[in-house]
C-alpha cells in the first residue's frame, strides 16, 4: 500500500459545518465583527447574510437577535422586534395597495407567536387620511404570501400631540399608540 503524500500545511477553506460552529460563536453585541467575517469569503458571507437556518440557530444560541443584515446608508427605523428591523426605505417589500391612501404612516414589524422562528414576518402599516373627516387605515404584509392584505379603515378622532410612536404585538393583534391621540389603536391580524 502506498502512503499518500503528507498534506500541505495550507489547507483549503473550512468545511461548512466547522464554519457554522465558528460563526455561531461570534459575539452578537459586536456587529462590526460579523460584518468583517462576512467579507472573509463567499461561504462565510452566504452563511452570515442569507442562510435563514443559520440565523435561527444564531438567535437560539445567543438568545438575542443578531445584526445580520448590513445597511448601505442610514435609514429611518420604523420598528424592530423578534430579530427584525423595519426600515423606512425598504425596497424589498411591494408597494401597499393603491386604496391605502395615507399620510403620517407608522409601521410595526414582528413574527406571529405561533411560529417565532419560522422565518416569516408581518409588517403592519397604520396611516391616517385627512379628508373632511379623518380615517385611520391599516393593512398588513405577510412575508409568507408576499402580499399586502386588503386595507381596512375606521373614522378616527385625530388629536395631534407630542409623543413617541409605539407599537406592540399581542396574540394576533398589533397595538399602536402615538402622536395621533390619547388612544391605543388595535389592528386584528386575523379579522383585519
Amino acid at each position: 500500500m502506498t502512503m499518500p503524500p503528507p498534506k500541505p500545511r495550507r489547507p483549503p477553506h473550512l468545511v461548512n459545518d466547522a464554519v457554522e460552529e465558528i460563526l455561531l460563536r461570534l459575539p452578537p453585541d459586536d456587529p462590526a465583527c460579523l460584518v468583517r467575517a462576512a467579507a472573509v469569503c463567499r461561504t462565510w458571507r452566504r452563511v452570515l447574510t442569507t442562510d435563514a437556518a443559520f440565523s435561527v440557530r444564531y438567535r437560539a444560541f445567543h438568545g438575542t437577535p443578531p445584526v445580520l443584515r448590513f445597511l448601505r446608508r442610514s435609514y429611518f427605523v420604523h420598528d424592530c422586534r423578534d430579530g427584525l428591523v423595519f426600515l423606512g426605505d425598504h425596497r424589498e417589500l411591494p408597494e401597499e395597495p393603491e386604496s391605502f391612501l395615507s399620510t403620517f404612516q407608522f409601521a410595526a414589524v414582528g413574527r406571529r407567536r405561533a411560529c417565532p422562528d419560522g422565518g416569516h414576518f408581518l409588517v403592519t402599516s397604520l396611516g391616517f387620511q385627512f379628508d373632511a373627516e379623518v380615517t385611520a387605515n391599516a393593512c398588513h404584509y405577510s412575508s409568507e404570501t408576499g402580499e399586502w392584505g386588503p386595507p381596512t379603515s375606521v373614522p378616527f378622532d385625530y388629536v395631534r400631540r407630542r409623543s413617541y410612536n409605539r407599537s406592540c404585538f399581542i396574540a394576533d393583534a398589533v397595538y399602536f399608540a402615538g402622536e395621533f391621540g390619547n388612544v391605543v389603536l388595535r389592528y386584528d391580524l386575523v379579522r383585519q
Binding site: 502512503m3 465583527c33 469569503c41
Partner: protein, 174 residues
Amino acid sequence: MAAPESGDGNNGAARMVTLISSDNTRFEVEAAAASLSQTLQLTILDGGGGGGDGIPLPNVDSATLSKVLEYCIKHAPAAANGGAPNATAVDRAELERFDNEFVNIDQSVLYSLIMAAHNLEIEGLQSLVAKKVADMIKGKSPMEIRRTLGFPDPTPEEQAEMNAHMLEYGWAYE
C-alpha cells in the same frame, strides 16, 4: 508507539481499542474515551477496533490524533456520567482549566483540530475549538482572518469583493 496513559479505568480492566492515524501510527486508548467520537462510537459498540485490527483514520495525522485523544481521555469520565450532572465544582473547574490550556496551541494545529473534531464528530471538542477560533478572529480584518486560518491567498476576484465590501461597510473597519 506507546499508548497514552489513561488514568483509572473501570476496575483496571477497561476495554481498549486501537486507532490508526493517516501516517500509520497506532494509538491504544480506552473504548470509553474513543467513544466520545460519534463517528467511532458505532464501530466500537459493534466490537470493532479491538485486538490487532485497529480502526484506520485516514483523515487524521498522528500529531492531531494524539491531541484529540488527550482531550477524549480527559473528558471521558465526565461524559460517562452523562455530562456529569453530579460533578463537583472542583471537577468542573479542573476540566475548564484543562480546556483553556488545551486550545492554547499553534494556529496550524488548531486548524487540524477543527477538521478532526468534525470528521470524528466529537461535540465538546468542536465547540471548544470553534469558541477559540471565534475569539481569535474577533478583532481581525478579513485578510488577517484568512491568514489566521491558513486560507489560500484570495483570487483577484475575491480580493476585489473584499475591497468593495470594505468600502461599503467602512464603519466596521474603523
